[in-house]
């Protein structure tokens, strides 16, 4: 048991010593809209990034989009896709290739001048992709 405690203490020390460089003051907010493409399970997503405090668009950010399913976390490994900037400031485009239909957590990873991650949940079905606002209640009787 002491071995475990010692090990945990060591790891804690390592974690606590990790460089604490200045805060990334900028926090991002994202709006995502996805459209299906003719290929099955392939979707084109337009992502608009804004500064969550000032509402200014965030341009010149390196944006990578990853995906995971909330119902089966960590068990899907969709290759992250680099988003290409579009003409409007703060607007990016990415083409996603998913493994199956359903609700996906899109992980928008910002790097470059600022580091952040925003997560949005989208429901992908054949022929459409919508913002999954509320996870649905399981199939049940409705009065």
């Amino acid at each position: 048991m002491t071995a475990i405690n010692l090990a945990y203490a060591l790891a804690a020390a390592v974690a606590a010593c990790l460089p604490a460089i200045a805060f990334a003051q900028v926090r991002a907010k994202a709006d995502v809209a996805c459209r299906p493409t003719p290929t099955t399970l392939q979707y084109d997503c337009v992502i608009t990034l804004t500064n969550s405090r000032t509402n200014e668009p965030l341009s010149d950010v390196t944006l990578t989009v990853g995906a995971d399913m909330p119902s089966m976390p960590m068990m899907h490994n969709v290759r992250p896709v680099k988003a290409a900037p579009r003409e409007e400031p703060g607007s990016y485009q990415a083409r996603l290739m998913l493994e199956m239909h359903g609700d996906w957590m899109l992980q928008l990873n910002l790097s470059g001048p600022l580091r952040d991650r925003v997560v949005t949940i989208i429901r992908f079905e054949p022929g459409r992709a919508t913002l999954a606002a509320e996870p649905e209640v399981p199939s049940s009787r409705k009065h």
Partner: protein, 295 residues
């Protein structure tokens, strides 16, 4: 007061389907002494087959029901052959994990065939609800109740009036002794599995027809409801399964009415947990069923 009674009525109706789900579950458990995590998904395969029949051919409810039952039974036999038959006597968890793996398989197969999130399912019965004073009884609920009770009675008949039923009860009571007196255990097992899955298929059809939609969540939902009802009623007991289902239905209906769907599910699990902590044998189960399932 009116609400209370109305909810009880509604709860008993839906509870009859839960009872059927629990019935199939309990038959499998009684015969196999192992938990089949693919039970709900087998029923869902049946449901998806019925949906395909409905969408492709515009079939009527009876045909769809037949498709559901057949689909469920076939899926059940597949599960039995792969996860339960080849396992040696002591490998109970291996069977269970194997049935979990097949659960994933069946779910993905269903989603591949019908990728959308919901599909329409034919209704059970249309028509105005029956008015009984201040209470209303939906006609599709009534059909569901009658079908469920009818099937439960039929199962009871098979169990107690036929040779197959006798063999089944013998195996449920004591598999070794049953084998010794000449019951062909190898033949009875897959048939019992198919039968139990078929019963589940009927239950599934009734629920889906009342809901008028099917989603990929249905497999897990069916497993959980059947499991809860079975445990509340008592493992391995046929009347227990029906009672457990009815009780669960009423509890859910009341909880949903007063507190909403999330509390409804919370209460259902809490009741299950409470039963397990206080009275694991359920309402009518016997203590001998509280056996150890070793690795």
């Amino acid at each position: 007061m009116v609400d209370l009674v109305q909810n009880t009525i509604d709860g008993l109706m839906i509870g009859s389907s839960y009872g059927l789900l629990a019935l199939g579950f309990t038959l499998i458990f009684g015969v196999m002494r192992r938990l089949n995590l693919s039970y709900g998904p087998s029923v869902m395969i049946g449901g998806y087959l019925g949906t395909v029949v409905y969408l492709q051919f515009g079939a009527g409810p009876l045909t769809v029901a037949a498709a559901v039952v057949v689909g469920a039974a076939v899926a059940g036999i597949y599960v039995e052959r792969l996860c339960f038959a080849p396992m040696k006597a002591g490998a109970a968890i291996a069977s269970m994990v194997s049935s979990f793996a097949i659960w994933m398989q069946l779910e993905q197969a269903a989603i591949l065939v019908l990728p959308r999130h919901t599909y329409a399912f034919p209704p059970l019965a249309t028509g105005a609800p029956l008015e009984l004073g201040p209470f209303a009884i939906r006609s599709d609920h009534l059909v569901m109740l009658c079908s469920a009770l009818g099937l439960a009675a039929a199962v009871q008949l098979v169990l107690y009036r036929t040779r197959f039923g006798l063999a089944l009860r013998a195996i449920i009571g004591n598999p070794v002794a049953a084998h010794l007196v000449g019951v062909d255990v190898r033949m009875v097992m897959p048939l019992a599995f198919a039968g139990a899955s078929a019963i589940g298929g009927v239950a599934g059809f009734l629920v889906l027809a009342v809901d008028q939609q099917i989603t990929p969540m249905f497999g897990m939902w069916a497993t959980l409801k059947g499991l809860i009802a079975m445990m509340i009623g008592g493992l391995g007991s046929v009347p227990g399964a029906v009672l457990g289902g009815l009780l669960l239905g009423v509890i859910e209906a009341q909880s949903q009415w007063y507190f909403g769907p999330q509390i409804r599910d919370l209460v259902a699990y809490f009741v299950l947990f409470a039963f397990l902590a206080i009275r694991p044998r359920g309402l009518v189960g016997s203590m001998s069923e509280a056996s150890t399932q070793k690795a």
